[in-house]
Structures are given as structure tokens and as C-alpha cells.
């Protein structure tokens, strides 16, 4: 992030996050020429990949030849900063990453990991995609989703409210309602 402050206006970063585990098929897909080409086509200039415990190492690139600037790291305590500075987030389907991104209203493509045994994760991503809060993809469809990406269709996510749950718990325990 240090060498780009001089042309910050034109900087449009795609941040890819796999969370605490590994998701090699996603990292491999975003590192493919096809996907990088599609992102460039959509006007993105930088690609930052949080690769977690994965074993596939993406190729770094300084983007001198007009290609995407690519950087990666394994883990960071400041994922929130990366999310905030991103123009597009491509995330694994963990609810933590999904809601952290939706809360700051960043365009989000969730990629479902089909290698997971108990794959309930796709439920949430598909439900939120149906409500147009995000886009849902699989590693093999990610390129298509990026090519047909239309950010104008996104419906902003209205954050939930824990108060009604707390109220029912209080009522059950005989605490005053307010």
C-alpha cells in the first residue's frame, strides 16, 4: 500500500479474503489470468489476497505493464482496514466476513467453498444474494460473475437489531421490560 499514495484517485482495490482457514481453489481462481483480466476490464487496479492457511501462493505483480497490481499475505489483525480501503470484496462464505463487509456497504462477491463437508455455508450466501445484498459464486463461476457484475443492482443491507431477543430473554427471566 506504500507505493500507491501518489495516484490514489485512480486506485481501485479488490480485496480477497479466505478467513481463518484455507481456500486454495478461490486463491488459485483469482490468481488466474482470466479473472485478473476480467477485473482489469471492470476498472480495478489492485488485487490484495488474504490467503490464510492455504498452500497455493499467488504471483506478486507490481503492475508495470498495465496489468493488475497483485499482493498477498496470510493473516492480518487489520482485516477491517483492508475491507475499508477496498472497492470490491471477494470473500469466503463465513458469516463473519460477510457481515463485516455488508456493514460497511462494500460490494461483495461471496465464493462458496464446495470442498467443505457440511456445506451449510451456501445457505446464507444464497439467501443474501436472493435479497440482492451481495453476489454469490463458486470458484468455477467467479469469472462469469465478475464479467457480468453490475453494482447498481445491489440493495444495501439493513443491519439487524439484537434488542428484541434481549427483551424476550429479560421477560422470561422476570426482569423489567425497559
Amino acid at each position: 500500500m506504500e507505493d500507491v499514495n501518489n495516484h490514489i484517485e485512480s486506485k481501485r482495490t479488490v480485496f480477497v479474503t479466505v478467513g481463518t482457514t484455507s481456500f486454495d481453489s478461490l486463491v488459485r481462481t483469482v490468481d488466474s489470468d482470466q479473472v485478473k483480466e476480467a477485473l482489469l476490464e471492470k476498472g480495478y487496479t489492485h488485487l490484495v489476497i488474504q490467503m490464510g492457511r492455504g498452500s497455493y501462493i499467488p504471483k506478486k505483480s507490481s503492475g508495470e505493464d498495465g496489468s493488475l497490481v497483485v499482493d498477498y499475505f496470510t493473516f492480518s489483525s487489520s482485516i477491517a482496514d483492508y475491507l475499508r480501503s477496498a472497492s470490491l470484496v471477494i470473500s469466503h462464505a463465513g458469516s463473519g466476513s460477510i457481515f463485516e463487509t455488508l456493514r460497511i456497504a462494500k460490494p461483495l462477491i461471496v465464493v462458496v467453498n464446495e470442498d467443505l463437508m457440511d456445506n451449510h455455508q451456501s445457505e446464507l450466501a444464497e439467501e443474501l444474494a436472493e435479497r440482492k445484498h451481495l453476489f454469490c459464486a463458486r470458484p468455477q463461476t467467479l469469472c462469469q460473475v465478475i464479467e457480468s457484475l453490475n453494482l447498481d443492482t445491489i440493495v444495501p443491507y439493513e443491519p439487524g437489531d439484537a434488542n428484541p431477543v434481549a427483551k424476550l430473554i429479560n421477560k422470561h427471566l422476570g426482569f423489567p421490560a425497559d
Binding site: G19, T20, G94, S95, G96, F99, E100, H120, Q121, E123, L124, E126, E127, P159, G160, D161, A162, N163, P164, V165, A166, K167, L168, I169, N170, K171, H172, L173, G174, F175
Partner: protein, 217 residues
């Protein structure tokens, strides 16, 4: 002699069944006469998204009603207790009002074989029992995943034996849109939770005893 043993067994079994039925029928009924001003509260933290949801719920709850608070997270999960400490503003082992942070062995890690998980499950149960004897909470807040099953099972046994009556609240993860998790399903089917919340209306339709009052995230 054999008959005596048999009669004894029949009587104890009958009493136990009656007690279990009583406990189940009394759970999910609200407290009428609460004598305590504060209810000691055990918060079972899941991991990543589960912990984030729990913290969201805790942030709107009255801290002085639910005190002291005991936070439990899996021994392999370093992040959750840290998040709870930040939430509580306590960086030490213990807070001023007795709030504590503890780790618990997990019965099964992701990818662990079923054979070795028999041993680890026993270890996890023993550890959970030890913690529950020490804490004996009035309120248990949990939202999965599996870490909370031994805790809730022991809490239920404590209720049956009259050791401690705990009120158990379970909030199903927002990630569950169409079906309950295994943990949620167990607590629902066995009537172990006083109140079980889901975060999607279509899920509540499938499980009519569950509550739906909106999302935590």
C-alpha cells in the same frame, strides 16, 4: 434379593422419568418469583461468526442483571476470549464483578477421526462437568457450534438432580437459513433450551417452538 433390586430399579427409573418430564415441562416457562437481583451468566462463545453474533446480543443486555459473567471458549479458539475481553474492557484474568474467561476442551475438531473423538469427547465432558460444578450458572447463553452441547447436557442433568436450575437460551446462527444446525436441532428436540431463537422467518415456520424476532447481525 433379585426382586428387591428390580423393584428398586423400577421405582428409581419411574421417579427419574417423572422428574425429567417435570423439568422439560417447567423449562420454557418464565420465572414468576425471582429472588436474586443478579443472575450469574455463562456465555459459551463459538468462534468467528458465532462469537460476533453473541457479542452483538450481549451489547444490548443489561450488564448488572447478568452478573457475574463467565465466558467459555474452545481451547483451540484464541480469538473469541480476546474479543470478549475487549468487549468487557477487561484485559486480566478476572474482572471487578467476578467476570471470568475460561477455555474448554472441544469434543471434536474439524476433520478429527471418529475413533479418537470418543476419547476427546469424554475428556471434554469431564472438563465441562468440572467447570459447571464450579460455576453453577443461573443463565446460559449459547449460539453454537458444538462446544455448548456438553454444557447444556450437564445443565439439564443439574436441573433433573436439583443441583441448579439454569435458564438456557440458544440463538441459532444467522448462517442457518433453511435448517437448524445439529446443536440447534438437539436442543430443540430434547427441549433443553428455555428459549431457542432463529434469525430467519422461514426457519421459524419449520420449528414452531422457536422464536423469530429479527436478526442479530
Amino acid at each position: 434379593m433379585v426382586e428387591f433390586v428390580l423393584i428398586f430399579l423400577v421405582i428409581t427409573t419411574t421417579l427419574l422419568v417423572v422428574r425429567v418430564v417435570y423439568v422439560i415441562s417447567q423449562s420454557s416457562k418464565p420465572i414468576r418469583n425471582r429472588s436474586q437481583k443478579h443472575l450469574s451468566t455463562l456465555v459459551v462463545l463459538g468462534s468467528g461468526g458465532h462469537t460476533a453474533e453473541m457479542i452483538n446480543l450481549l451489547s444490548v443486555m443489561q450488564k448488572d442483571w447478568f452478573a457475574p459473567r463467565y465466558y467459555i471458549a474452545a481451547a483451540t479458539d484464541n480469538m473469541s476470549l480476546q474479543k470478549a475481553r475487549v468487549f468487557e474492557g477487561i484485559l486480566d484474568y478476572k474482572g471487578a464483578d467476578g467476570t471470568q474467561f475460561m477455555q474448554i476442551y472441544r469434543s471434536r475438531e474439524v476433520g478429527q477421526s471418529y475413533i479418537t473423538s470418543v476419547g476427546t469427547t469424554l475428556l471434554a465432558l469431564g472438563h465441562a462437568l468440572w467447570l459447571m460444578v464450579k460455576i453453577r450458572p443461573h443463565v446460559i447463553l449459547c449460539n453454537g457450534p458444538g462446544t455448548c452441547i456438553p454444557i447444556c447436557a450437564i445443565a439439564f442433568i443439574f436441573k433433573v438432580l436439583g443441583i441448579r436450575w439454569s435458564y438456557i437460551f440458544y440463538v441459532e446462527s444467522i448462517a442457518r437459513v433453511k435448517r437448524l444446525s445439529l446443536t440447534g436441532l438437539l436442543l430443540y428436540k430434547l427441549h433443553m433450551a428455555d428459549q431457542l431463537f432463529v434469525q430467519w422467518p422461514q426457519l421459524q415456520k419449520q420449528y414452531p417452538r422457536a422464536h423469530y424476532v429479527g436478526r442479530l447481525m
